[in-house]
Symmetry: C2
Subunit: 344 residues, 2 copies
DNA sequence: TTTTTTTGTGCAATCGTTATCGGGAACGTT
DNA sequence: AACGTTCCCGATAACGATTGCACAAAAAAA
């Protein structure tokens, strides 16, 4: 893997490396003829500056790190597409890491990305992360970080989230207006911002329509690893309560599909016996059996806005004193899984 | 972003940088006491070697580049998970880039990854790539490359693929044995290896069961961009042939869901009017309406094997003269979308 | 003609790390 | 006493690119 360097050009043209460097950057102090000579030679030899050498010199890399729980998930892969589309146009590269919802891997990825001199970080927290010092230390050292979707409460920086409260409220309200009385909520671990926000929207809707909140209808589920079976067991347990729910509002892709699997396996008819609304970005929601009512998050746009904020932070470090939290509207799409009255 | 360097340690401990460097690498020529001193100080100050400096020095990065068409796709995201799981254990980092099925972006990503000194490349070709010189040049310069899934014919290196021929044969055979006579095949662009292999399996099955091959039942579809609508139009066109197919065998996630969308929109009953089998890794195949018969590729395992081959190539450059092409078994899972005789 | 300015180029330091070379001290061997 | 080993450690040169400074030659001003 020999690549051509500035030194090779200098030698070939009988110039010094500094002259070559300046010629390539089109500096005013270089003779136009020399410039032309250098540029043409560089072009011909397909010279590309070594970004590693530049990173070492400047402690900059023109790249941003993204840490997300997992990529095999519609929401997050759309998020990445949004991030990449903008970053690419602004000349930044995107380096993606998965935390797999593990705190340790989140920390390891963070350290690695920092040592690789990324210019900034885009983070959606792992569901098991409660300790945030690894991010706080970096921010104190001046590394720009923008959080998105799963954001921490006690770190002051830009954040981009979906309007989880309203999304959740609308989903719950829709179930109520469809005649459901016992609405369960299957959600993510309690530490996450998305969990509390969605729970609040759910509670508020119940309250507004005079339905008492029942803790036994709420289940916080873990992510990652071999938890799927456990979650499905929890679902089945809830279904065998003395007064089983007649509707279920799930907070993620995985939980939604897990639920539907349970329903299918146990022959529970949807929406006749139970309605379901998912807070999910599954792309094939309309092809499911039955077509699934969803609260969709504007994932692509969230990614775009977050990366814009981050790059602003990177390129104008001092200017930004005010941090903003952008909350983007979700979209409730009503399909067959939640319509029609419960038969119970 | 000031980080502690070997120089800082040297200054603090009144040693030279070389001594510190050697002490940290536990060299035999350093006094155990000095070693201890250095190591403890480094530990206390949370010293981490700068990987950029190392990359610059060694032209190595302990990282491998992955270029795939897109990540918002079950097959490819599973592939990545397989790659990461192995790479992580072997001390390599994984840098992911999407070609979005564009030749230009594939080339751009390749160049960037190379300039970033990745130690090797894992590639699944963009569907519009016909010119392979950007890979050939790199291989001549000694950069290890392993292809997977969408592999080139005329490059000699390790390759990992699914057994597309057999997978396709079994899918077609299954449709034939279920009583289908006019089996259409919706597939990827003709340049791709997966396309020709699957087509061959499809043809062989038809031949073995005495069904004449009809070119008008085969449609090569483009990927990427705003092609979806165009593909769906092609599907509708095929459905309005004088003798429309009574079964359809689709070659990818996108084409499969596109088909099912058309069926749903036009109220075509599956499997009564038409059967469908997808060559796809959609995770919710069993939740679709109707549950979808699929040929699943062992995506995770393909990723694992490919990265193993690549790292072997990286770490033992001379030893490998024989290149192998591993072909992994697919799994046909029969569900409702393809059972029951056609009513026609 | 002499002095000053401008123009074009090279030198050397820098970023963090390691490999190469070499050297001093302490010890053992003739 | 003279020499060779062994043990520790330091100075230096890379890796590729940029940049402040120096400096020569040429051009302009005196």
């Amino acid at each position: 893997m020999e690549t051509i360097t500035i030194k090779d050009i200098a030698k070939a043209l009988n110039l010094s490396t500094s002259t070559v460097s300046r010629a390539l950057r089109n500096s005013y102090e270089i003779n136009p003829e020399t410039k032309k000579l250098v540029m043409e030679y560089a072009e011909r030899m397909n010279y590309r500056p070594n970004p590693i050498a530049l990173s070492l010199k400047d402690s900059k890399s023109k790249s941003i790190g993204v840490i997300i729980p997992e990529i095999a998930n519609h929401f997050f892969s759309q998020l990445i597409n949004g991030i990449e589309s903008i970053a690419y146009n602004l000349g930044y590269h995107v380096v993606i890491f998965q935390s797999h919802d593990s705190y340790e891997r989140e920390v390891a990825n963070t350290n690695y990305l920092v040592s690789r001199r990324v210019d900034g970080l885009l983070v959606s927290l792992a569901s098991l992360t409660t300790n945030l010092v690894h991010f706080q230390e970096l921010m104190e050292k001046g590394l720009p970080i923008v959080f998105l979707d799963r954001v921490p409460n006690d770190i002051e920086t830009h954040k981009v989230v979906a309007d989880n409260f309203t999304g959740s409220y609308e989903a719950t309200e829709h179930l109520i207006l469809s005649g459901r009385k016992r609405i369960a909520h299957l959600t993510s671990p309690i530490y996450l911002s998305i969990t509390t926000e969605r729970l609040a929207g759910y509670k508020k809707a119940l309250e507004d329509y005079g339905i008492p909140f029942d803790e036994s209808y709420v289940k916080y589920c873990l992510y990652g690893g071999k938890i799927e079976a456990e979650n499905e067991a929890a679902i089945e347990e809830m279904l065998s309560l003395p007064e089983p729910p007649d509707a279920i509002f799930t907070a993620s892709d995985r939980l939604t599909t897990g639920c539907m699997s349970v329903f299918q396996r146990k022959g529970i008819r949807v929406p006749e016996e139970i309605a379901i609304v998912g807070f999910t970005n599954i792309s094939v929601a309309n092809l499911l059996n039955p077509p699934l009512t969803t609260v969709m998050q504007p994932a692509m746009e969230m990614g775009q806005q977050a990366v814009e904020l981050l790059i602003r932070l990177i390129e104008h470090p001092q200017k930004d004193e005010k941090f903003e939290t952008r909350s983007l509207k979700t979209a409730l799409t009503i399909r067959a899984s939640s319509v029609g009255k419960s038969v119970v």
